[in-house]
């Protein structure tokens, strides 16, 4: 079974399956002339030269900016948008990992074996929603800051309530796992 990495452009074509190996060999008939041409004629005439990813330095956030300092606000806003993009990609990567685990094991076994990846994905999504959710696409760092302020005030006023519901979800999953075990052991009784 071919599996994909998180990096861009690297695919692992290896499997124990004979059928898949023969299909991969069939694909190499098209691959052979292209690689031959490239290795002999193209890569000898090229010179390698690098390119880099931009490294953005950390800038003071909105809670460290003075009122009326528009330049500080602008830079803090840019940083906020970059962080939002990065967090979005993180949630997508975790979703991809959990999905691949389910594809590998199937929906029945995956419920047990992919539990950790599922929980990581859920936690990332809840945290993303807590920080950036329901603000809209034209959100600024001030909107997120005010949201955090209101959330902390609410938490101070209601210390016992749990709005996130992660613990409740864990209990539900445990019940379903126990039900599955009971069904496999004795379908008629359960």
């Amino acid at each position: 079974m071919s599996s994909t990495h998180d990096e861009h452009g690297s695919v692992d074509l290896s499997s124990e399956n004979k059928f898949m190996n023969r299909l991969i060999g069939l694909g190499k008939i098209f691959d052979g002339p292209a690689t031959f041409f490239r290795e002999k004629f193209v890569e000898k005439n090229r010179k390698e030269y690098p390119y880099y990813h931009r490294n953005y330095p950390r800038v003071p956030t909105i809670d460290e900016c003075a009122f009326g300092d528009h330049v500080c606000f602008f830079e803090a806003n840019e940083q906020f948008l970059r962080d939002r993009k990065v967090d979005k990609f993180i949630t997508q990567i975790l979703a991809r990992r959990a999905h691949e685990c389910y594809i590998k094991h199937g929906p029945y076994d995956g419920f047990e074996k992919c539990r950790q990846l599922d929980e990581d994905h859920e936690k990332a999504l809840t945290n993303y929603y807590i920080k950036y959710g329901d603000l809209g696409s034209n959100a600024t760092c001030i909107d997120a800051y005010m949201k955090q302020k209101h959330r902390l005030i609410w938490q101070r006023r209601n210390p016992e309530k749990d709005i996130v519901g992660l613990e409740k979800q864990k209990e539900i999953r445990k019940e379903v796992a126990e039900y599955q075990k009971r069904i496999t052991e004795d379908p008629i009784k359960a």
Partner: protein, 193 residues
């Protein structure tokens, strides 16, 4: 109706007979209407070879060739040269004590060329934008301050700048006498604190 049908009968005859004059027989409708009445001299064996037209196909290939030679071939050669001899860049980590130039953040060599020679430096544009934001913020603050001063003057009426109308003393005295005689209007002119 009868006259019309006789004229229709004569049309094929008139169309086919260029060399004949004064045909007196009427061509009948129906099965005999496709008889060929044209004359033949049998002078040569060259006949017109009937075939479909070549205009549109020639024009199509001509325009294709034109656009290919003008734009397709040069761009193809340019891109082939770029892919054979230059190639895209390879991702590396930024080494310490080195700050990459602003064009070294792109992978495609054409994009590198354009960012290096054609487009402007992004760091410079960024700093310039920050400058404009700062200047506009300063102007905003000055405008807000002026507005606030104006409203305070309007409320307190204690400064000889805005809302100051110099009036001679005698008019005020006349106004007082008038008010004492006939009474003032429904409201006082000075109703601010």
């Amino acid at each position: 109706m009868i006259v019309h049908s006789k004229l229709i009968n004569l049309v094929p005859v008139i169309a086919k007979s260029n060399l004949r004059h004064g045909l007196k027989e009427n061509v009948s409708k129906g099965l005999n209407s496709n008889l060929n009445y044209s004359q033949l001299r049998h002078s040569h064996a060259r006949t017109m070879f009937i075939r479909p037209g070549k205009f549109y196909t020639k024009k199509y290939f001509d325009t294709l060739h034109f656009h290919f030679c003008l734009a397709g071939l040069p761009f193809f050669l340019f891109i082939a040269y770029q892919n054979f001899f230059v190639g895209p860049a390879i991702l590396n980590d930024i080494p310490e004590d080195y700050e990459p130039r602003y064009w070294e953040y792109h992978k495609n060599p054409i994009k590198r060329f354009m960012s290096r020679y054609i487009f402007e430096i992004p760091e410079r544009a960024y700093e310039r934008n920050l400058h404009f934001i700062y200047v506009e913020g300063c102007k905003q603050k000055m405008r807000n301050l002026e507005k606030k001063v104006k409203t305070m003057m309007k409320e307190n009426q204690d400064y000889k700048a805005w809302y100051y109308v110099p009036v001679p003393k005698e008019t005020l005295e006349m106004k007082k006498e008038y008010h004492q005689k006939y009474g003032s209007l429904g409201y006082e002119s000075k109703f601010t604190k």
